[in-house]
C-alpha cells in the first residue's frame, strides 16, 4: 500500500523517512535500534524521491524504510553484534542482502538490537541493554493487566520481544520501518516475530546469501525477513533470494520472484500436525488455538492429519552441541588484531588474544565457546560432535518421511507461551531459556527447511501468539501461499500503541495501514 502511495505521490520518500526517524526517536524506550543512520537514510530517501519524480522507481521497495539486525555488515555504519568485541567496528562492506536491498532503493534507517552475537532467545543479553516488546505499551496489554498493575509496577511490567532478532521485530511492530532483516539459526527470527505480532520468515538454507552476515553456525544460519504481512515478506524474499558467488553455500538454481496467489480453494492441501510439538510447557491457551487453527483448515476442506517427527525432542540437544562447536570455531576470528576490540595487554600474542577475548565477550558467548571446545576435544569428538551430526540426519529424515507421505505443509505453534515479563525471563540463565524457547523452531534449522511464523491471535494477557508453518525445501511459494490464506482467515488485530508513541496519531495513519505491497 505504501509503495502505491509513493508512486502516486500521496507521500514522498523523504517525508516517509522523516516520519520513521521521528517515530524511532519517540519510541526510544523500546531500545530497538543500536545505530540510527539518519544522514545516510535521508540521502537515500532524497535519491529515491528524484527517481519517483522522473517516474523511474527501481521497484516496489524504492523509498521504503527498512532496518537491519546489527550482525549484518553495513558499509560505513557501525556493526556491533551488540558486543563489546565489535564496538566501534565500522564495516568496510555491505552484506550481500543489504546491498540487494539498497540496490532496490530501500532506505536503511539503522541497525537493530539483538542478543550478543545472536545468542539468546530474549534479545536481553546484548551490551546495549534489552529490547522492550512494543505490545507492553499497547492498549490491549494494558487493559488485561489493569487489575494487577499499580503505577509503580507498570514500568517493570514490560515484556520481552523474544530473540535474538528482537530489535528488528520491535522495529517492524512499532511501525518505525516497513520491513527488517533478522537472522535465524535456532528460531531467532520466528520467535520474536511471534511475540511481537509480526510475520517472521526463515527461508530454506541455501536460498539467501549469508555473505556479510556475521556467522554463528555456518550450517544453519540464514538471513530472516520480518514484515507486517505475508505479501510483504514475499516481496522482500523476491529481492533477496538467488545464487551469490560470494557465498558458496547458496544454491545455483535459478530463483524466480513470485507474487502470491489469493487461495480460495484449500481442498487439495494436506496439513500435517506433528504430535511431538505438543511439547512440555506448551500453554493450554496455545494448545487450544492450535486446535482452532487446524479446524480452520479442516472446515475449509483441507486434509488435516496428525504426523510424527519422532526425533523432535533431541533436536534441541543436537543443536546445543553443533551450535557450541561451530561457535567455538567462528568466534576464533576475534583476536583484536585486525578489527574490533583489542586489549592493552601486549606481553605476548596469546596473552593479548586471551585478554581481548575476556574483555570483549559476555558470559553467554564465552560459555558457548568453552562448551564447544569441550565437545571438540579429541576424546569427545566422536561421542558428542559426530554423534550430534548423526542425530541431525535422523531429524532431517523425519521431515523427509513426512513430506514424502503427501503432507504439503506442517502447522505448529511458534512459541510455548506468549511473551513473558522481563523480570521473570531473567530469572533463568540464557542457555536454559534458549533450550526451552527454541524447542518448536529449532528443527527447521536442523533440516534447513523454510518456515514462517504468522501472527494469529491475542492471548488472555493481550499479547500476540504466532503459529508456524514449515514447508518443503525451496518451496517458499507454496509455504507463503498457505500462510497468506491463514493470515486472511485469522484477521490478527492491529496493535494500539499508547504511551511510547505520544505524538500525532492521525499523521501516522498511512503507516499504520500496515503493508507496503
Amino acid at each position: 500500500q505504501v509503495s502505491a502511495a509513493l508512486k502516486e505521490g500521496h507521500v514522498s520518500p523523504t517525508e516517509l523517512c522523516q516520519r520513521c526517524l521521528s517515530l524511532i526517536k519517540s519510541t526510544k524506550l523500546l531500545n530497538a535500534y543500536i545505530t540510527v543512520a539518519e544522514e545516510t537514510a535521508l540521502k537515500q530517501a532524497e535519491e529515491s524521491e528524484k527517481r519517483y519524480r522522473r517516474g523511474q522507481p527501481l521497484g516496489v521497495l524504492d523509498g521504503i524504510p527498512i532496518a537491519v539486525k546489527d550482525n549484518f555488515n553495513t558499509a560505513g555504519i557501525e556493526t556491533t553484534c551488540a558486543s563489546n568485541m565489535l564496538k566501534g567496528y565500522v564495516s568496510p562492506y555491505n552484506a550481500t542482502v543489504v546491498q540487494k536491498l539498497l540496490d532496490q532503493g530501500a532506505v536503511l534507517l539503522g541497525k537493530t538490537n539483538l542478543d550478543e552475537f545472536a545468542m539468546g532467545s530474549g534479545s536481553t543479553d546484548g551490551v546495549f541493554g534489552p529490547v522492550r516488546n512494543p505490545w507492553s505499551y499497547s492498549r490491549q496489554y494494558k487493559e488485561k493487566s489493569a487489575s494487577k498493575a499499580h503505577s509503580e509496577d507498570k514500568e517493570s511490567n514490560w515484556v520481552i520481544t523474544g530473540g535474538s532478532s528482537g530489535g528488528s521485530a520491535a522495529a517492524v511492530s512499532s511501525f518505525t520501518c516497513f520491513a527488517a532483516l533478522g537472522s535465524d539459526t535456532g528460531g531467532s527470527t520466528r520467535n520474536p516475530a511471534a511475540h511481537c505480532g509480526v510475520v517472521g520468515l526463515k527461508p530454506t538454507y541455501g536460498l539467501i546469501s549469508r555473505h556479510g552476515l556475521i556467522p554463528l553456525v555456518n550450517s544453519m544460519d540464514v538471513p530472516g525477513i520480518l514484515t507486517r504481512c505475508v505479501d510483504d515478506a514475499a516481496v522482500v524474499l523476491g529481492s533477496l533470494a538467488g545464487h551469490d558467488p560470494k557465498d558458496s553455500t547458496t544454491i545455483q538454481d535459478n530463483f524466480k520472484p513470485f507474487e502470491l496467489p489469493s487461495l480460495t480453494d484449500v481442498s487439495k492441501l494436506s496439513i500435517g500436525i506433528p504430535k511431538e510439538y505438543h511439547a512440555p510447557g506448551l500453554s493450554s491457551e496455545i494448545l487450544a488455538l492450535w486446535s482452532k487453527a487446524a479446524d480452520l483448515f479442516k472446515n475449509a476442506g483441507a486434509k488435516v492429519i496428525e504426523v510424527s517427527l519422532p526425533h523432535t525432542r533431541y533436536s534441541i540437544v543436537c543443536y546445543h552441541v553443533l551450535c557450541t562447536a561451530e561457535v567455538a570455531s567462528n568466534m576464533a576470528r576475534f583476536d583484536g588484531l585486525e578489527y574490533g576490540h583489542r586489549s592493552d595487554m601486549n606481553k605476548s600474542t596469546e596473552s593479548m588474544y586471551a585478554a581481548t577475548r575476556r574483555e570483549g565477550f559476555n558470559d553467554v558467548v564465552r560459555g558457548r565457546i568453552l562448551s564447544g571446545n569441550y565437545f571438540l576435544l579429541k576424546q569427545n569428538y566422536e561421542n558428542y560432535f559426530i554423534k550430534a551430526q548423526k542425530v541431525r540426519r535422523l531429524i532431517a529424515n523425519d521431515f523427509v518421511k513426512v513430506f514424502g507421505s503427501g503432507v504439503d505443509v506442517l502447522l505448529t505453534p511458534t512459541t510455548l507461551t506468549d511473551a513473558v515479563p522481563y523480570m521473570e525471563f531473567i530469572k533463568e540463565d540464557n542457555r536454559t531459556r534458549s533450550a526451552q524457547d527454541d524447542i518448536l523452531t529449532q528443527a527447521a534449522n536442523m533440516a534447513g527447511l523454510p518456515a514462517i511464523s504468522v501472527p494469529t491471535a491475542l492471548s488472555e494477557r493481550g499479547l500476540p501468539v504466532g503459529f508456524q508453518f514449515i514447508g518443503r525445501s525451496f518451496q517458499e511459494k507454496q509455504l507463503l501461499t498457505v500462510a497468506k490464506w491463514f493470515e486472511k482467515q485469522v484477521k490478527f488485530p492491529m496493535i494500539q500503541l499508547e504511551e511510547v508513541k505520544r505524538h500525532d496519531h492521525n499523521a501516522f495513519q498511512h503507516q499504520k495501514s500496515a503493508s507496503f505491497s
Binding site: S219, A354, R366
Partner: protein
C-alpha cells in the same frame, strides 16, 4: 563426573577465554549433562550429516582476481598498525601455566 581443574585449564588454553567464576564452570557442567542426552539415541548405521545441501555440488569461482586493493579500508579497523602491517605482540610465548596465571581456576 565432575570436570577436573586440569581439563578446565586445558579448555581455557584452547579457547583463550576464561571461565571467570564458579558460575562459568557450573555452566559447562550443565552443558555436558544436557548434551549427554544424545547418547539415548540409537545411531547405528547412520552417517553424520555435515550440511543439508550435501546432495549438491559446491559452487567454485574461477581463480581470477576480480576485486581487492582495499588495504586502506581494511587497516582502518585495526588498532595497532605500521605502514601496511598489522602489529602483534611477540609470538611463540605460551600462555603462563595455571600457577602463574591470574585465573579463577587457581582458587579451585
Amino acid at each position: 563426573q565432575k570436570v577436573t581443574v586440569e581439563m578446565l585449564d586445558h579448555l581455557e588454553h584452547l579457547a583463550l577465554v576464561d571461565f571467570r567464576d564458579a558460575e562459568g564452570v557450573e555452566r559447562l557442567q550443565k552443558a555436558i549433562q544436557f548434551a549427554d542426552q544424545l547418547h539415548e539415541v540409537n545411531t547405528d548405521g547412520v552417517e553424520p550429516m555435515d550440511s543439508v545441501l550435501e546432495d549438491r555440488c559446491l559452487y567454485l569461482r574461477e581463480d581470477d582476481v576480480t576485486e581487492g586493493n582495499c588495504t586502506n579500508e581494511l587497516l582502518k579497523n585495526a588498532r595497532e598498525k605500521v605502514e601496511e602491517y598489522f602489529v602483534a605482540p611477540p609470538g611463540n610465548i605460551p600462555l603462563p601455566k595455571l600457577e602463574e596465571r591470574e585465573t579463577f581456576l587457581q582458587r579451585s
